[in-house]
């Protein structure tokens, strides 16, 4: 009598195991073949654009997304090629990345760390994204960068200005093109000292989150080194809209400068309150009262309207720059969308190009190979002059723009004027600088994925 080896339980077990194997996330299957997360097939490669599509930074997010779409078009050989024509590295030829057509998926960070991580995770695990890029908030950037490090994909940060992104929270798989709080302080302080003198007393209002802290620290350190005194600094909730209670005490505090470490809607509302309370016409300590906004964006300046006129700040890039790269990008973007790009759009476009270039130079999509190609890479023609992607902390070093609100704008886009291009040497710092996490800060090991 023959005995069958098939049992009902055995069939169920085998079926369950086989089913689980077939439904494994894409990246785990790919790992088995290539040794890194989400290795692309022969025909296409998927990039993940993780930007705020809802929430307070949705306008910046929308502009970032436009720039990403433009970058993909250019990488795939569409449009006029934009900065591909001006980029000092000439390995990109409009045939995608390593011959694969570039596809993309998008996620909504909602300007919340948990939502941003969830959408990044989904793009990596479900959509097979090999690189994640985006963000308009440093809290989000730091959170997503850590996730990408764990997952074994490259993170090309978008608009994130906090020191921590490439400071104490730096990661081997994370790269930032945008400038940071330290650089803002180093570039802005000498201009402020020249404009307003060295005998000044500053009052800081600071957004109560990661970026606010590092910006306040950087501006305090750089202005105090110039002789300014900080009389008070007050944290304001990120959700605050009416800043009257915070602004009212400023005039009688002994300060003669108000530093608004605010961005986006916070900055628009705090500056509006400051103007309403007459700070711009006020006198203190025998001098004109002044307001400083360390980090500017054109989208923000548009929201603040007339109030920004004559107020100093800094920015990563501005569409009015006359170099070849900037002009090429403005032409491509402006022709496609009908208005000039923001600094958020610029940095995300450049990051996408830099990633594609690094993959091509490395000849591989493996994150560690790409990271190696980006480290200490020097380039030009991308709108900020000669730029170095420093290997020690994965931070780009380039000239910094000091700007002020334009007194007589000629169009709705003509809101900021560049008053100084601070040379890169002036904003360079030691990778172990105390503001950057000190000697303990480390990139850790590059991760190719499981």
């Amino acid at each position: 009598m023959s005995k069958s080896n098939f049992t009902r339980r055995g069939v169920l077990k085998t079926g369950a195991i086989a089913g689980a194997g077939l439904t494994l996330p894409t990246y785990l299957r790919a790992d088995g073949h290539t040794g890194f997360t989400n290795a692309p097939g022969d025909s296409e490669v998927v990039l993940g654009f993780n930007v705020p599509q809802t929430g307070p930074y949705a306008d910046e997010g929308a502009d970032e997304l436009r720039a990403y779409e433009l970058a993909v078009e250019h990488l795939n050989g569409g449009g006029d090629g934009g900065m591909l024509n001006t980029f000092s590295s000439k390995v990109l030829d409009g045939t995608g990345i390593l011959g694969r057509e570039v596809k993309y998926v998008t996620g909504d960070t909602q300007t919340k760390s948990d939502a941003a991580r969830a959408s990044a995770r989904s793009m990596i695990e479900k959509d097979g994204a090999i690189m994640i890029t985006g963000g308009s908030s440093s809290g989000v950037a730091v959170a997503v960068q850590a996730l990408c490090q764990e997952a074994g994909v490259i993170f090309m940060a978008g608009l994130t200005h906090s020191n921590d992104t490439t400071g104490k929270d730096r990661k081997a798989n994370g790269f930032r093109h945008f400038f940071n709080s330290y650089m803002t302080g180093a570039a802005l302080a000498p201009v402020l000292a020249a404009q307003y003198g060295t005998d000044r007393k500053a009052y800081h209002l600071t957004a109560d989150y990661n970026w606010g802290y590092t910006t306040e620290e950087a501006i305090k350190a750089s202005t105090e080194a110039m002789g300014w005194e900080t009389v008070n600094s007050v944290k304001t909730p990120l959700t605050q809209t009416d800043f009257s209670s915070y602004i009212a005490p400023v005039l009688n505090s002994g300060a003669d400068v108000l530093v608004l470490n605010h961005y986006g809607g916070n900055m628009i509302n705090s500056l509006t309150s400051a103007v309403q309370f007459g700070l711009r016409e006020a006198q203190a300590n025998g001098q004109n009262f002044e307001i400083v906004v360390p980090l500017y964006s054109r989208l923000m300046a548009r929201g603040a309207g007339e109030n920004v006129k004559g107020i100093f700040g800094s920015t990563n890039w501005h569409w009015s720059l006359q170099d070849e790269g900037s002009q090429a990008f403005v032409r491509s973007f402006g022709t496609k969308y009908g208005f000039p790009p923001s600094q958020a759009a610029h940095t995300t476009y450049v990051q996408t190009m830099l990633y594609a270039d690094a993959v091509t130079r490395a000849g591989s999509f493996a994150p560690c190979a790409v990271a190696e190609a980006l480290e200490d890479f020097e380039f030009d023609g991308m709108g900020n002059g000669k730029t170095l992607y420093r290997g020690d902390d994965h931070q780009c070093f380039k000239d910094v723009l000091v700007v002020k609100g334009k007194e007589n704008p000629e169009s709705e886009f003509d809101l900021l004027e560049v008053v100084e291009v601070t040379p890169v040497d002036q904003v360079m710092y030691d990778p172990a600088h105390p503001q950057m996490g000190g000697a303990d800060a480390s990139l850790g090991e590059c991760n190719n994925g499981a």
């Binding site: 307070p56 809209t241 005490p249 009688n252 509006t272 309403q276 929201g303 603040a304 032409r331």
Partner: protein, 343 residues
């Protein structure tokens, strides 16, 4: 002392916005028994009435200026405002400058209409449903309204300035014996306070001194008996919903120059307004107004740098702490009536 005066003024200002929103919420709850979580969105819609009016009055056509170029190097298209074409440069500029006060005139019928559509189209179907259902549907409606505004106006706040003539400062210090510029306060914020006080007084007078108001008050006290007397109380309550929407709307219009309107504005005010209603006492109109001013002033004092530096974060929780304390001492709120929301 100077800071105390400024923070009292700030508190009155903020409190008047709380009071106006809470007044509308209480009117709706008292008449229709509906917990309207979309009321903050009505405040936001009001603020955007100011934005829309401003945009309409600033409508323009393009004229090519061959002497200048745009960012792409093409001849610059310059905006020429229709109101300046029609009324001359000075009069046109004045009309655009007074967009916010003009928006009040537009917002009243618009907000009554929005309120009417909300009530007849959606909320009336939930009168007999539990409060949880009402909260869910009105909260969903608030989200939809916010997203619609974001779709058309973007996520960043839109600056909507007060008329130049009312944008200055009042030197309060001189009135209290201080030197010049010791206590200055924005004129528009004072305008807002007096405007709110007038609206609140008008609503109370309407309810107190008109036959319509008397019927509404009677209906709030005992809807069934008023119905038995042959009065169609539902129609009057629908009108009250429209009135509450208009009050929230004009509160929003006037607030637009103080805090630039953004689509998140409704949610920002919603929770605090409910706290104001609960602290004032559910269904109590004077309670809502009193609690609005009290909590506004307390919040302002808690935001003073000296207090924030001493107790970090106190400014964000003080309203809730005070609400807990008041509700522990007076479970029905400051002026709550027995039997309301207690079944």
């Amino acid at each position: 002392m100077d800071q105390i005066i400024v923070q009292i003024l700030n508190g009155l200002d903020k409190g008047s916005a709380y009071a106006l929103i809470a007044l509308g919420l209480t009117l709706i709850f008292g008449t229709l028994g509906v917990v309207n979580f979309a009321h903050g969105a009505l405040f936001m819609m009001g603020a955007f009435c100011a934005v829309i009016t401003s945009k309409i009055l600033s409508s323009s056509h393009k004229v090519v200026d061959d002497t200048r170029t745009d960012f792409l190097g093409n001849p610059l298209e310059v905006d020429v405002f229709y109101v300046q074409d029609w009324f001359g440069e000075a009069a046109g500029a004045a009309i655009m400058d007074w967009a916010v006060p003009l928006a009040i005139l537009i917002s009243i019928p618009v907000m009554i209409l929005i309120g009417f559509i909300m009530e007849r189209g959606l909320i009336k179907h939930f009168y007999k449903r539990p409060h949880a259902d009402q909260i869910l549907v009105t909260f969903g409606l608030a989200i939809v309204m916010g997203e619609v505004i974001k779709y058309y106006f973007g996520a960043n706040p839109i600056q909507t300035p007060a008329p130049d003539a009312l944008s200055g400062r009042v030197d309060f210090g001189v009135w209290f014996g201080y030197g010049p510029n010791a206590i200055v306060y924005p004129m528009w914020r004072l305008v807002y306070f007096f405007f709110s006080a007038t609206i609140i007084a008008a609503v109370f007078a309407f309810l107190q001194f008109t036959t319509f108001g008397m019927v509404v008050r009677a209906g709030m006290a005992d809807r069934e008996t008023v119905g038995l007397l042959g009065i169609d109380i539902d129609k009057r309550f629908t009108f009250m919903f429209g009135l509450a929407a208009a009050v929230a709307g004009i509160a929003g219009v006037m607030y637009a120059p103080i805090v630039s309107p953004a689509y998140t504005m409704g949610m920002d005010w919603l929770v605090l307004s409910f706290v104001v209603v609960v602290v004032g006492g559910m269904g109590s109109l004077p309670g809502a107004v009193l609690a609005g001013f009290v909590l506004g002033i307390i919040e302002s004092f808690a935001s003073m740098p000296s207090i924030v530096n001493l107790l970090p974060g106190i400014n964000q929780i003080v309203i809730y702490v005070v609400a807990i304390a008041i509700l522990l001492l007076r479970p029905r709120g400051l002026m709550g009536r027995k039997g309301v929301m207690e079944d």
